[in-house]
Symmetry: C6
Subunit: 213 residues, 6 copies
């Protein structure tokens, strides 16, 4: 009943892979920005570990704003909301880390998300991707949903190799170690059709700031 | 004992459909705005999932303010209160999502709500409408209360088709996939008789802001 | 042992009717204002539902400040405290809604409360009065305490008709559907003898605000 | 082992009467002010009902600042701390209400507290004094500690009359109905020897404020 | 394994005496200040009663800043952190009150703490020292650790007299009733070798403040 | 499966040693800074004691900013996030104290962390290093992971001496008593290749501040 989202013209929608009692599932991470004060809202009955993953991903983004082409003022002049439907289903664990990070990067840069791609992996504050569990069930769910490419931690390669290859012949896999690799694969270089224009206060004049160290 | 609200001259009152232990019920979502700082208050003994639905609906509205014709400054200069009577009855679940969104849109735009209409469906942050449960009981309750039109997720069409059609011959159904469709159906183009005049601070002069991306 | 409060020269004191394990009781709602920042304090061991009733009543007042003759700046320049003695007795439920609203309206407008009047009813955000339970016990308690007039939801009329009329021959009843009717009955047109003078900051000049919609 | 505090040269120290499992006891309410932002701190393991009593007493004081001769700016430019030793003993209930109010009034006005006086009674927001329980035990404890005068609610007079009069021949009783009477009895007209000088920001000029109603 | 801290050249380190399941122990109270906004941080797994003691001690200090020679602006321009190692051992009770107060006074005045001194006693808001329990065990622990002088409430003198005097022949005792006496004994008149220089905003000009009462 | 992090060109990544039910383990402390308001975020399912260790370490850093060469304005103009993967594994206890402090010092000074070094020890607010447990298991884990140098409290020397020396012949040990010694050993004098440039507001002019004491 889960459907794949494969419209690359809305920023911030990325497909993750979850492992639940009833087997593997795809889940969509949704992000939105609105003018505000930098408040982060998380919804969809997320557990503590998943909330910490979101906060860690956001800190990574803030600390690497320059290299990702994000104006740092956006973080304090816009509020970020991340929601994971279905709203009544509790979700937890660190494995949506890279999916949330990709969603956030897309919404802040307005870059397109590659269609038919899904991913699963824990993110750390220094941008490392860690392996996660339930790979087989997640992959089979992705396949059923029509996903074509999957991003995984390189330490999860062995879990893929244990799957009967005939089940996954339509899938291509990307094995990564860093967030930087994830974003290179999952985000297209161009922006969505009608990118948001961020309205920001003028930067302080140089005479009022100084740089140190 | 539940009565239908069908006065289209007050903004922000929308009929939802709930499914409780004693069967289906209609419930009224009430919204009000007052000068303040953008605080959101939710009351009526709402559970976590329902509160998250409200927050998600509000984020959708903020992110789509321009296309809905809402001045973004209203979100920070007015407080929004959403209340669902009866005040002592606990309520939960995501199915009031589109009803709360319609109520909020009506109060912020001061547009009239179509009379004799009710709705049920989960809302997501990107404006998608998801199917919900308890359809049969909800529809019968709506019928008893005098509702004439009902908005549902297109994925709930099969639940309607399973109902004995003689019970629902006086109802017309709208099947939707997006919030945009919900609002086109449920809100009339004109404003209520005495629309609120929002008092807002002057916008900053162009020289003090810049637009990026 | 409960005594009726019937001094119409202090604003904000209104008699409510409660239904407890030991039968019906009157309770006094007390409101006070002091210079501050718009903080709402509730005391008297109020439960969640009762607190939500207070917040709903206050939102109603804020949204209808103009028509009630309340300067909106009072809501942000004064703190409101509502207390319901006895301080150690837990109280809950929505039935003090209209009593709290009447108390708040009296304190913000400094209008006198009609003496020897009591009331019970739930309030909604759009100003509707909903019926409540325990009517017989509440009415008998009011009668014993010396109350002369009672305001009730029109849907509670049937509960009054079931009472042996000889018990209530000294009481007159007002059946209402809206908050507006409650206030017309319970508040006298004039102010208390020494009305508070609200000290407010000057309004911003017209050039600094604009009205939209 | 409890000792009476009877030094009238420190503002804010007032003797209350408590009723505990081990019988009646005296307790000292201590208040202190320090430059700050109007924060209220309560300590001494106070329960919910007792904290609400303190907040109610403070609201009464704020709403009646003018008639008590307190400059309203003190409430926002000074922090108030109320502590009840012994710090590890849990305390609760409404009966310290008038004692806390007297302590606060003394510290804000710097008026002396009458020596050898103790009191017990609930306070309401409109300044009414309500009766409390455990009177016999409290009175005997006060007597043992050397208290000479006691302030009680007039509704507690019957509890005093039931005590064997030979036990209380050294005590004089004040029966009151309002806070105003309590303060007239418990506070001396003059200030303590070295009254605090409150440092306050200049009042806004008249041109910047207006009075309404 | 606990060691005595007897270096008088760091401000804010004071030896307290605790009574635990395994007998008496010494504990070190550490305070530090850093530029901030007046935030108080407490760490070392302190229980509610101990936290209230710290807050009470700080309020005493703020209310008596002038007589202790502390510039009141330090309280709002610096953050105070109090930590009691070992970090994983839960601690509670009021008996560290005077130790925390001495530590705070030392850090705010930069005065030296007398070496080889320890103390135990509850502090009240008006600066009174109250007796505490476990005296025998605490004293023996202090003796083993090399403490030479001990400050106690005068009401704890009887507990000392019950100890076999040969055990405590190397200890001298100070019996006190007020905080003022504690500080006179425990703090040396001079400052530590390299006292902190507090950086403070200029005081408002006299024309902008007024003193009342 | 745990890997050693030995890249000295990213600031803020430091190897700690943990002791878990399944034996000793290494863990990486990650710190990052981003423009903000001085908010501290901790993630990785840290328990209360561990969170207090982090806060204590940060207070030490703030109080010793000058001697460590950190501009105090960084603490209020940047947000600090500390994360300890793996995100779903609960962690607690004080033994990561010196590791977190080293990580923070590295990120705020942008100094390199010595490669192949690990450490374990509690930190106190005055900069003392306290001994911790589980030394044998931690050391063996460090050895397996390729660590070459280990920093420990001097009071843990006896725990090392009890280990069969053939197991640890490739490790060199540093026994310390203070944080200052930890930082001298663990941080290299130079900065990482591309040090962050901190953007700070201009300092207030001398005429607007004064130094006291
Ligand atoms: Ca959890
Ligand atoms: Ca790249
Ligand atoms: Ca829940
Ligand atoms: Ca449309
Ligand atoms: Ca509840
Ligand atoms: Ca009217
Ligand atoms: Ca309670
Ligand atoms: Ca008087
Ligand atoms: Ca406790
Ligand atoms: Ca002295
Ligand atoms: Ca804990
Ligand atoms: Ca050094």
């Amino acid at each position: 009943d889960k459907e794949l989202y494969a419209d690359d013209d809305i920023a911030g929608i990325v497909t993750g892979l979850a492992w639940t009692q009833v087997g593997g599932e795809i889940l969509l991470i949704e992000s939105s920005l609105s003018r505000g004060k930098g408040v982060l809202t998380l919804s969809g009955q997320l557990g503590d570990v998943m909330k910490e993953s979101a906060v860690t991903a956001l800190s990574y983004l803030k600390a690497h704003a320059d290299e990702l082409g994000i104006d740092y003022r956006v973080f304090t002049c816009y509020d970020l909301h991340i929601h994971i439907p279905a709203g009544a289903v509790p979700k937890d664990g660190p494995s949506a880390g890279i999916t949330m990070l990709t969603s956030m990067t897309s919404i802040y840069t307005q870059r397109k998300v590659k269609p038919y791609i899904a991913m699963t992996g824990e993110v750390t504050l220094r941008g490392k991707v860690l392996p996660v569990g339930g790979i087989k069930e997640k992959i089979l769910a992705a396949n059923r949903a029509g996903v074509k490419e999957i991003i995984l931690c390189s330490k999860n390669r062995k879990d893929i190799e244990e799957i009967n290859q005939s089940y996954i012949k339509d899938l291509s896999f990307h094995y990564v170690d860093t967030v930087d690799q994830v974003l290179d694969i999952a985000l297209l270089p161009g922006q969505v059709g009608k990118p948001m224009k961020f309205v920001l206060p003028e930067e302080k004049e140089q005479s009022e700031v100084e740089k140190v160290y």
